[in-house]
Amino acid sequence: MSRQRSLTLTIIAAVLATGIGIALSYAIHWFPVQASTQAHNSDRLYHVLVIATIPIFVLVVTVILYCAWQFRMRPGEELKDGPPIHGNTQLEVFWTAIPAALLLAMVSYSFVVLHENEKRPAREISVGVTGQQFIWRFQYPPSVTGGAPVESGELYLPEGVSVNFGLHSKDVIHAFWIPAFRLQEDVVPGITTNYRATPDRLGSYPIVCNLLCGLGHSLMRATVHVVPPAQFQAWIKSQLSAGGPGGAATSTGAGGATG
């Protein structure tokens, strides 16, 4: 096979591989269900990143395979050397500038998504989250309950309402991760950290402690229930009447390894 032909074949194979890679990236279910508006944005970012980087990976692998195929040493070439090419300034400028531009474009897009995910909505509710070895507790302030503050081992959230979590730790660092929301933040003793989420899909999803916090770390789980606003209000009422201030009657919700 002539070099020209093998090169053409290789380019066709590379284009095909890129196409298959991109098609696969759509076919594979990479993520758990999307249960927040932030999840939609983050997953789109992931897909854009995968599509942008597949051609680069295919390019590198293709060049290696082509060189191994076409330029491998053949019998009788034991003492042969390649041509003394020391470099090519234009090529080097090209493969400095193009990746730099691509990277800046990707990081800029990620900032757009970040801004979108974190911007302050017109209306939001606040929920306190307290981590301690190895359970989660959730605090609903009077502004949410309309009465006494409520504390619970279960996290109920109204669908479609932005919630601002204020995270506190009683002992070591934990991380408050809701994979279905694609969001997490460390829960740090001594400071309050926070993040926003807008749940947009009804259902129950695991809450996972995602920073090593000791022996029971892998069991430090809870569940978030995203419910219609009316049901949320009903749940708050039931908490108010059941437990009074402190909500002592509710379960801890620290079940088995659900995440």
Binding site: L45, T53, I56, A68, F71, D81, P83, I85, V208
Partner: protein, 636 residues
């Protein structure tokens, strides 16, 4: 017997170590008595004595084997033995268990020690995979499991990745730059012997009351402050490993700056020398930060300083900043020497000059500079001020540019070469593919909204193993095969080497690629138990990881049998131009009979009559040196 105890060696070390325990006990007793811990029981606080002993006993060991003898003689005014290199070379295997100032002996000591801890760390990894093969608690309790992954990472980072490259550097760099030895041979010997101390301290933590340190190699406070005494083994062990790194890096810097052969300008240095130069800069600047972070932890633990205790005005996040200010540059410490190795192998095995030599050197320096500006990308979800994420994301994306320059330059070096696809080359090409994948997932992790979801998940585990196993370890295997003839004077078995490559390459991808997916789907790292939906993938990963472990047996068998009885190697089996190939295999005790003269670049393959260095004085006639010691690159 008395003479044996007085002479430097293991006998004296043993006696002094017992002395170290006694000293630690008495000192603790005395201090506790003076500070009012008056009941008898409290004089003998095991934790307090153990903490002091962990500092004192290793120092006594180093004194015992003779690591400080010269300086003690000098300080006490007794006659010192000037370094005449008469102790150079190893005549029996026992010489490798003594203080030796020969850079080639030290290089072998470094490498064998590192590979011992690779095997131990790998076995620990397989124990973890055995536990993870099925959900639910199977073999080990959570405390032991947490100890396993903590020790796994610590050993493989501090006792394998960092020192193994120092081992190659020790053996090869003086030869490459035409020097008889490293600049500070006694410091070199001491820097090696700190490593087994650190390694056995980390391993020994399994026998500590309360078990091994169990909060990851990151040892985040405040968890590490209140952990059992095993944590102190980590905090102190890191000091010894770190001191070793710093000593070796200083030694490399001085050696490379001052001991290059005549004619070897910086831009005639082989890229491995450049890579070690860049790495050493990182080490001397960054390593003091992890030393500081662990001293803070030690003081918090032992004496209640409260550096990281919010209730005492401490700052929890400060620990992470100081820790990552070392530990991010550390990933470049663990890959830049690998870049150097790959540059050597790809140029020689493609029979072409390295493409864009100057950009290859400059991109190393760019990585050194940028490497210090990205540390907080490990902290995107830490709760630090949110604006810090923005500049760190930008620098993290930009640092991929110099890395990309290197990858593309290697590809261009392959282009139109005459490729020898033997074991070192296969590992170098395998490195290019897996490292590119690890680099791509690294770029993705710079994107904050994505990182927020996958931070501390199995996606991170996949990324770091693609970079460190698929990246660094592949270059290390390549280097072992490439310099094996020079180090041992024997050839390895090529067929077994290729088997080793293909099994490693296939099973490393089968082990680590699926981890990306379970990470995205929500499996956290550092858990002994996980949700049932991840069971199938985890079983697959575990099986692949056992096969990956088995592939190491091919490597060990090949190396051991080839070292003992492989065919004798010629001086220059790869027809390399760099200076280490111009001396016999293994090299003479003093490396070069005469100081070589460097007259050209290190990679002038394909240039008719090109010469890098001249070992004998050049004959006056016949133009560019046609001496028996001059290896020319053959033209086409």
């Amino acid at each position: 017997m008395a003479a044996k105890v007085r002479a430097p060696g293991f006998y004296r070390a043993g006696v002094l170590m017992v002395g170290g325990v006694v000293f630690a006990t008495l000192l603790t007793w005395l201090v506790r008595m003076l500070t009012g811990h008056t009941t008898f029981h409290h004089y003998l606080s095991a934790d307090a004595i153990l903490t002091v002993a962990l500092l004192a006993v290793p120092l006594m060991f180093l004194v015992g084997i003779g690591g400080f003898d010269y300086w003690f003689y000098w300080a006490s005014g007794r006659p010192t033995r000037p370094e005449d290199h008469s102790g150079h070379g190893a005549h029996t295997w026992k010489d490798y268990f003594r203080i030796n100032t020969d850079h080639k002996v030290i290089g072998i000591q470094y490498l064998v020690n590192s590979f011992f801890f690779l095997l131990v760390g790998g076995l620990i990894g397989m124990l973890m995979r055995a536990e993870l093969a099925q959900p639910g608690a199977r073999f080990v309790d959570p405390n032991t499991y947490n100890g396993l992954f903590s020790v796994h990472a610590t050993l493989l980072i501090f006792l394998f990745m960092v020192p193994v490259f120092a081992g190659f550097g020790n053996f090869v760099i003086p030869l490459m730059i035409g020097a008889p030895d490293m600049a500070f041979p006694r410091l070199n010997a001491l820097s090696f012997w700190l490593l087994p101390v650190a390694g056995f301290m980390m391993l020994g933590s399994f026998f500590a009351p309360g078990g091994a340190f169990a909060d990851g190699w990151t040892a985040y406070t405040p968890l590490s402050i209140n952990a059992p005494i095993g944590q102190t083994f980590f905090s102190v062990g890191v000091q010894f490993a770190g001191a070793s790194s710093i000593m070796t890096a200083l030694n490399f810097l001085v050696t490379i700056i001052t001991m290059r052969a005549p004619g070897m300008s910086f831009f005639r240095m082989p890229l491995l020398v450049w890579a070690n130069f860049a790495t050493s800069l990182l080490v001397v600047i960054a390593t003091p930060f992890i030393a500081a972070s662990q001293f803070f932890v030690l003081l918090d633990r032992a004496l209640g300083f409260g550096f990281f205790n919010a209730a005492k005005g401490g700052d929890v996040l400060m620990y992470q900043h100081v820790f990552w200010f070392y530990s991010h540059p550390a990933v470049y410490i663990m890959i830049l020497p690998g870049f150097g190795i790959v540059s050597e192998i790809i140029a020689v095995k493609s029979r072409k000059p390295i493409f864009g030599y100057r950009m290859m050197a400059f991109s190393l320096l760019a990585i050194v500079g940028l490497g210090f500006t990205v540390w907080a990308h490990h902290m995107f979800t830490s709760g630090m001020a949110s604006w810090i994420r923005i500049p760190m994301a930008i620098t993290t994306a930009i640092i991929a540019v110099p890395t990309g320059i290197k990858v593309f330059s290697w590809l261009a070096t392959l282009w139109r070469g005459v490729l020898r696809l033997d074991t070192p080359m296969l590992f170098a090409l395998g490195f290019l593919t897996t490292f590119t994948l690890g680099g791509i997932s690294g770029v993705m992790l710079a994107m904050i909204p994505f990182d927020i979801h996958v931070s501390a998940t199995y996606f991170i585990v996949a990324h770091i193993h693609y970079v460190l196993f698929g990246g660094s370890l592949m270059t290390i295997f390549a280097a072992v095969y490439y310099w094996f003839p020079k180090m041992t004077g024997r050839m390895y078995d090529e067929r077994l080497g290729k088997w080793h490559f293909w099994t490693t390459f296939v099973f490393l991808n089968l082990t680590f690629a699926p981890m990306h997916v379970i990470g995205l789907q929500g499996m956290p790292r550092r858990v002994a138990d996980y949700a049932a939906k991840f069971a199938d993938v985890n079983l697959f990963i575990s099986i692949a990881s056992f096969a990956l472990g088995l592939s190491m047996l091919i490597f060990v068998y090949n190396i051991v049998t080839s070292w003992r009885g492989g065919p004798k190697a010629v001086a220059n089996p790869w027809r390399g131009l760099t200076l280490e190939w111009q001396v016999s295999s293994p090299p003479p005790i003093f490396n070069f009979d005469r100081v070589p003269t460097v007259v050209g670049g290190p990679y002038e393959y394909g240039v008719p009559g090109a010469v890098h260095g001249i070992l004998a004085p050049a004959p006056a006639a016949a133009g560019a040196g046609v001496g028996p010691n001059v290896v020319r690159s053959s033209s086409q």
